[in-house]
């Protein structure tokens, strides 16, 4: 069974974002998810940080303090090789979940 709860979804969104944009800080990740989903997905912004730290703990992300475009001191998160692998797994799991849910919707 694919692990596909909400937390897993947040992880997937973060990993995907970082793979598309390169290194990014928390607020940037929020903005990216918001705009890339045409404002459909709004996450509770605070809950992003426990997820980021957890993923860093697991070695999927690495982080570094640096200055943002607006010269603010922010912490940049970057995908690691392990994070890339995890992204592939998570994407596969998510596809399965979507397929499964669709199948139920189509059932008549």
């Amino acid at each position: 069974m694919a692990r596909s709860d909400l937390q897993g979804t947040l992880d997937l969104l973060v990993l995907k974002t970082l793979s598309q944009t390169g290194p990014l800080y928390g607020y940037g990740i929020v903005l990216h998810i918001q705009s890339a989903s045409d404002d459909l997905l709004r996450i509770e912004e605070g809950s992003l940080y426990p997820a980021l730290h957890r993923m860093e703990q697991r070695g999927w992300l690495s982080s570094q303090w640096s200055l943002s475009e607006t010269n603010r001191k922010v912490k940049y998160y970057k995908l690691t090789a392990a994070g890339r692998k995890q992204l592939e797994t998570a994407e596969r799991d998510f596809e399965q979940l979507v397929k499964g849910v669709r199948a139920i919707f189509r059932y008549a």
């Binding site: 607020y27 929020v30 605070g46 809950s47 940080y49 426990p50 730290h53 957890r54 943002s68």
Partner: protein
């Protein structure tokens, strides 16, 4: 980088928190800026940013919780926090730590002593194979009563197949003379096979060789004697030792720590010598007493060995119809060494075990109580985002810190109590191996500490983890009790404590009564103002009976002239325990068959003995100076003999003879005329505490011939009893001078009083009573603390309820009664439970009691009264506080 940061985070939680704080703040700032750019006014922009973010503090907690590597750091913080908490609740901390430390310390101490004595194997090779043989009296088959004889030893060595080898030995006091001050040594005389049976080797020199029992006598000395007397000089090997005026060549020194003791022997042997081949006292049919030890063959069980020896004994006894009826009694050497102390040690072990239980439950009760007080703190912290796991870990750490300190302090107490025990030496004997706080005991105590810490710590923490935040917050403000469940479990704990202290108090009270009854028992003699001198007179220097008689006459005369002396007398036999009986023929009852002959303890004394002992003459006359060899031999009987064998008739004038008429030896004994009756004296039996009177027949030493050849030893022992006027104390030096003026070469051993001898016999009951009383007292104190704690907590919880009651018209007395009732009902349940447990427990102590029944109602009622009284006081204090509650204030609170 990140790993390095995490490691550095370990050392500074503050730094990590700062980073998270920065990260969160920059996020909120950026969102605010974004909002302002989108057209919001600054205040609205900031509020929106916060709203989108959620609770920043909660998020921070959650982020911190993600950092697994922080666990260690937070543990250190928890430990720091725990110390803080303990310091804040100093009273709680002190009581808890002392209670636990006392429990752990006393348990570890007592069990270390128990361990050295009865658990740890003896310091001999394969000690479980060593079996010691005694004869038990037919009536008491499970206590040794007699030694086996040399002839039995010979018989067993020739026929037994259960043992690899057998050895025989007996103890003998050796007077060491010639080299420095004369000294009495503990000598051991042994068969050549003893050391090989025990499996011991020499430290220096050699042990005995096969032909050492012929020719020049040789001796092996203990490491302790070598150290004490010869300062570890190797020159002693080959030197000559003069023991009881005989020369022995020292051939070897035993290894340090070697110990071979029989029958609760309190000391080790200083010097060992051999039974010489061809010694006339050790011929094939010798009845000389020996302790026989055997090393079992590996395939043979002790039970098989026992049945073999029992049948061999029965076989051999058939050749000798005159010996008393007895059965073989075999036991392990260790059991043999601890026969007297075993019961006391087990009683003590049980008592401290119960005390540890009470200490642990008391602490649990205190911790539960404290956690209830902190319930609101936990609820608030849970509301602020602390996870249940976090609270649990913190509570566990707090408890482990508490238990850790108590455990460490407990170990100190354990070391102290072991040292104190050795210094006190209450049994008058220490085990063969040194008593140390043993590693396994230490391990068990440590495990016990940690486990009880985890268990009692985890339970409240578990409760806290289940805690419903809303309910707890609401409960504490409304005054209703969310903790009634924990109060109930605390009540059960206290109830158990009361029950356990009742059990211990019953035991202590019974043992104390036993000791007091033993002490109050009139003994038939007066132990006050006496001195007893034991002398051993060598037959080399006193070769004839006349010389021995004259020495005794002269010394008694001289002792009487000492200042302050009222009376002095001599006896050949001054023992207050384990006197053997002899059959007695009576002229008026010649037709009695030999197995029905009256039995009495023969005691040889001289004139002045009864006055010196303080034994009353009931009828007839005492021995007098006119009873001499030439006059008609006379005897005195004690009242016990008169009552048992003369059924109230006056025995004065009766003729009697000591010994079995069938026995050839008896023919040598003269017929004695009974001239007087003296009061019965009390004595005990080996390993029994009860005093009893036994029939005794007294004879006068001056009318007897000392028969040195029949005595298997080389000397005659005499005891001199001196009575001084009350208040006059006679110095040992004065007595010594008197003796040395008669014979300057006579070693004078320890001079004791009769009182000391009597109290020596009561060592076990006295120690048991004292220690158990101490433990029972401590237990009662702990239980009182428990009751007080529960009642105080209950009053605190019912603060508002009591306020309402008082507002509604209850007066102080009603409130007082309300609280006292609660405390007393708890006590009553505990007392009932304790009494039932006590009735069961005392069944195991019946053999330790004297003069009181194990179910004595007075004891039980007394204990119940004391416990009720103590718990009344313990609940009175909180009750009085409840009665002084100001209803207005209590209703306004919170």
């Amino acid at each position: 980088m990140s790993l390095f940061r995490r490691i550095s985070n370990l050392f500074s939680r503050g730094k990590l928190e700062q980073e998270i704080q920065d990260e969160i703040r920059s996020h909120i700032d950026m969102r605010t800026t974004g909002n302002i750019e989108a057209g919001m006014d600054p205040e609205q922009a900031h509020r929106d940013a916060l709203l989108r973010f959620g609770n920043p503090n909660l998020m921070k907690e959650r982020v911190v919780a993600q950092d697994a590597a922080l666990t260690l750091e937070s543990l250190a913080a928890d430990v720091r926090y725990s110390f803080h908490q303990l310091l804040r609740n100093r009273g709680f901390a002190v009581i808890t730590i002392l209670t636990l430390a006392l429990g752990i310390g006393a348990t570890t101490g007592i069990f270390s002593i128990l361990n050295a004595w009865i658990i740890q194997p003896l310091p001999l090779k394969d000690p479980q194979q060593l079996i010691i043989f005694w004869r038990a009296a037919a009536e008491v088959p499970n206590e040794p009563a007699y030694y086996f004889s040399w002839r039995d030893y010979i018989y067993f060595t020739q026929r037994s197949h259960a043992f690899q080898s057998l050895g025989a030995s007996f103890e003998r006091s050796y007077a060491l003379t010639g080299n420095g001050e004369p000294e009495n040594l503990n000598g051991g005389i042994m068969s050549r096979t003893l050391f090989s049976t025990l499996g011991v080797s020499a430290f220096r020199g050699r042990l005995f060789l096969p032909d050492d029992d012929m020719g020049q006598p040789v001796a092996v000395i203990s490491h302790a004697l070598w150290t004490r007397r010869f300062h570890q000089s190797l020159d002693v090997l080959g030197q000559t030792l003069t023991l009881n005026d005989k020369s022995f060549k020292i051939v070897g020194i035993l290894r340090p720590g070697f110990s071979y003791r029989v029958l609760d022997q309190p000391h080790d042997i200083d010097v060992w010598t051999l039974i010489q081949a061809g010694d006339p006292h050790y011929k094939q049919d010798s009845v000389a007493a020996v302790a026989i030890i055997g090393r079992l063959k590996p395939s043979v069980t002790p039970a098989q060995a026992k049945s073999e020896i029992a049948s061999l004994q029965a076989e051999n006894d058939r050749h000798y119809p005159d010996i008393p009826k007895s059965t073989a009694y075999l036991s392990s050497l260790q059991q043999d060494n601890t026969r007297e102390v075993r019961a006391s040690l087990l009683v003590l072990g049980g008592a401290v075990g119960l005390m540890l239980l009470i200490a642990c439950t008391n602490t649990a009760s205190l911790i539960v109580g404290r956690n209830i007080q902190r319930e609101k703190e936990f609820a608030i912290r849970a509301a602020l985002g602390s996870s249940a796991r976090r609270l649990l870990v913190q509570l566990l750490v707090e408890n482990l810190v508490l238990y850790g300190i108590s455990g460490a302090l407990g170990l100190l107490i354990a070391f102290g109590s072991v040292r104190g025990f050795i210094a006190w030496n209450p049994f008058g004997a220490l085990p063969a191996q040194p008593v140390t706080v043993s590693l396994p005991v230490l391990g068990v105590a440590a495990a016990l500490t940690v486990l009880s810490g985890l268990f009692f710590g985890a339970y409240p923490a578990f409760q806290a983890a289940k805690l419903n935040v809303n309910q707890a917050l609401r409960a504490s403000s409304s005054g209703a009790s969310a903790a009634s469940g924990t109060l109930r479990s605390r009540s059960i704990i206290v109830l158990t404590q009361i029950a356990l202290s009742v059990v211990l108090l019953i035991g202590a009270s019974l043992l104390l009564t036993t000791f007091l009854r033993l002490n109050a028992q009139p003994l038939g003699f007066n132990p006050a103002d006496t001195a007893v001198i034991n002398l051993s007179l060598s037959h080399k220097r006193y070769p004839s009976g006349t010389q021995l008689t004259q020495f005794a006459d002269r010394l008694v005369q001289r002792l009487r002239t000492l200042p302050g002396v009222d009376a002095a007398g001599m006896t050949l036999f001054l023992r207050m325990s384990d006197a053997g009986t002899e059959p007695m023929q009576m002229d008026s009852q010649r037709d009695v068959s030999e197995e029905h002959l009256p039995q009495a303890v023969p005691v040889t004394v001289g004139p002045g003995f009864f006055q010196a002992m303080g034994i009353a003459t009931i009828a007839g006359r005492d021995f007098s100076e006119s009873d001499v060899q030439a006059t008609r031999p006379v005897a005195l009987l004690n009242e016990e003999a008169v009552q048992r064998y003369f059924a109230g008739k006056n025995p004065i004038g009766e003729q009697l003879r000591i010994g079995n008429p069938k026995d050839a030896e008896t023919q040598k004994n003269p017929w004695l005329e009974v001239v007087g009756i003296v009061a019965s004296t009390k004595s005990t039996r080996y390993n029994q505490i009860a005093w009893e009177s036994r029939p005794e027949v007294y004879t006068d030493y001056r009318q007897q011939q000392f028969d040195q050849s029949a005595d298997s030893s080389d000397f005659t022992r005499m005891s001199f009893v001196v009575r001084t006027r009350p208040g006059v104390s006679l110095s040992d030096a004065a007595i010594q001078r008197a003796i040395w003026s008669e014979d300057p070469n006579l070693p004078v051993g320890q001079i004791k009083s009769l009182g000391e001898m009597v109290s020596g016999l009561q060592t076990q009951p006295r120690v048991r009573a004292r220690l158990l009383t101490v433990f029972a007292g401590l237990t009662l104190l702990l239980a009182a603390i428990g009751i007080y704690g529960v009642m105080a907590q209950s009053v605190a919880q019912r603060y508002r309820e009591i306020g309402i009651r008082m507002a509604l018209g209850a007066d102080r007395n009603n409130v007082l009664r309300l609280v006292l009732k609660q405390g007393l009902s708890l006590t009553l349940f505990g007392v009932v439970l304790g009494t039932i447990l006590g009735l069961v427990a005392v069944r195991f102590m019946k053999s330790l009691l004297y003069g009181i029944s194990a179910n004595s109602p007075a004891t039980y009622f007394g204990v119940i009264a004391v416990v009720c009284f103590v718990s009344l006081i313990a609940s009175f204090l909180p009750a009085r506080r409840a009665a002084t509650i100001d209803p207005v204030r209590s209703l306004r609170t919170e």
